[in-house]
Symmetry: C2
Subunit: 312 residues, 2 copies
């Protein structure tokens, strides 16, 4: 299991590779809250943090044989950018229904894209077989101590930018890599994991004290970045240990948050990146003073963004 | 004429009233440039800086009699927000074709809006007559030393955030209040004023060495924030003294910059706020290392934003 020292080491390793994203302010339901704008990170999401940390730890022989990852897009871009910088070949397995913008941006970084059908094919099996063929290293999107430690550098920045740890940090949660990393970075803060309704397996896992996968009948969600079928022993272990709380938000609440970000914050935030904001705006989670919400990504297709904004 | 000490005094006066906006990085035509994201300022533009500085200097009697301003929207919002905080009555004269979002946001801050027809009515005369009626103070949008000094606080932040003055600062220019203020704040930097084609009266004034108003036949522009018919002796004087350079950009270059901001920066930037970025992206101005471009505002109507983005 990674610990706070791993996050500190990751911060040193990836400094110069990732941007220090701004901590912005917003008035939400009468409270001033802080927003960690990871949508402004290189690649439009926090994922470059973990990917850079993991790839910088590859041995020379591993670098030569390349990396393989699977992701609906943000981790894909993070790995592709980190790989390109290091001159490492990257193959990314992406669902054919991933946002076009994410597929294009990943390809633009020079990665080889392998598309699969989310309903009928097994991305893990495809990625493993590709990795085996070339002796490449599989780079998981969250179930990996170096990935978790890398994502945690966002938490170190939050504490540095505030001058202290905040009372609570609200984090969009798919596999839980970002939330777990921030938990390690900020040992005194209360962690709140936010997921879209039906995909709130972290919430149910935390409540039941064991890993519970997403129900087979989970509804469609706009939050493509958070459609993770099952959290991992690493991320769940860290968050359970810290008595993290799980909260779910509706698709409508997510849409409202995307609109709020455009209108009031002047930020482009993708649905999955807006769930923590949605929890606060909707009152699902009371916005208290000394709350930081992470805006974890901004990679949204134009059509969808325009459609959500036009609903105002 | 205001000087650097006035900017320093303004910074002290308005600290706590305005946000320190982030200085972001972007790769533009192979160069790393810095972007001062004033679209993330409270009110969605830099204007709160000057308005707060001016209103905080009102005498008690002046505060009681209220303020009057004219503006297509960003100065309107800046004055309305500053006035509301101080409990000062604000009346804002706005053109009836101002962006709806700007009119609504100004009204939402409690200001009284007086609309006029840009083609047939004289906003200065309307504002003066309103001010005379109530003994209110007219708050100009740029032709005022306290306004210029307040806008200059953005320049102090740029130097502080970089740890030094950059070689050049590229600034969207209407009346020149922001460019002149930044010139005072950063005495060693080269200043470049960017305007939309046809509205490039600062460029022509700087080239001819005297104030030249906008030609009567100036074409329509999306940059509502930069449709200023004539710069002022204060702003022109400061920028001429500093040998500032003027550059103009086409409407197409502005549209491309708005799209780049959405796609690559995850920022909502209005056309007038995007002209400095447009100058760099288009190559009209070569992006050198050590260049800061100001993104001066983000208040754009949804319809227009969607239309510009859809042209991609």
């Amino acid at each position: 299991m990674p610990d706070r020292n791993d996050v500190l080491a990751a911060a040193e390793r990836i400094s110069g590779q990732v941007l220090k994203t701004p901590l912005l302010q917003a008035q939400i339901r009468g409270a001033r809250v802080w927003l960690k704008a990871e949508c402004l990170q290189t690649g439009g999401a926090f994922k470059l943090r973990g990917a850079s940390n993991r790839l910088l730890k590859l041995a020379p022989g591993e670098r030569r044989r390349g990396v393989v990852a699977f992701s609906s897009g943000n981790h894909a871009q993070g790995v592709a950018i980190a790989a390109k910088r290091l001159g490492v070949r990257a193959t990314i397995v992406m669902p054919s229904d991933a946002p076009a913008l994410k597929i294009e941006a990943t390809r633009a970084e020079g990665a080889t894209i392998v598309l699969y059908d989310r309903r009928t094919e097994d991305r893990v099996a495809i990625a493993r077989s590709l990795a085996d063929e070339e002796g490449a290293t599989l780079v998981p999107s969250f179930d990996d101590p170096d990935i978790v430690a890398g994502q945690g550098t966002a938490g170190l920045e939050i504490a540095e930018q505030l001058g202290r740890e905040p009372r609570q940090i609200v984090v969009p949660t798919g596999g839980g890599g970002l939330a777990a990393g921030i938990a390690l970075a900020c040992p005194a803060a209360r962690l709140i994991c936010v997921e879209p309704e039906g995909w709130d397996d972290m919430r149910r896992s935390l409540e039941q004290g064991e890993i519970v996968p997403v129900d087979g009948g989970a509804p469609p969600t706009l939050c493509d970045a958070l459609q993770t079928p099952r959290v991992s022993p690493i991320t769940f272990g860290i968050l359970q240990e810290r008595s993290a709380l799980g909260v779910s938000v509706t698709e409508d609440q997510v849409r409202q948050a995307v609109r709020f970000a455009w209108r009031e914050l002047k930020l482009v935030v993708e649905p999955g990146g807006a769930v923590a904001l949605a929890a606060l705006l909707s009152g699902k989670l009371a916005p208290e003073e000394d709350t930081v919400a992470v805006l974890s990504g901004g990679n949204i297709d134009l059509d969808l963004h325009s459609r959500i904004l036009a609903e105002a």
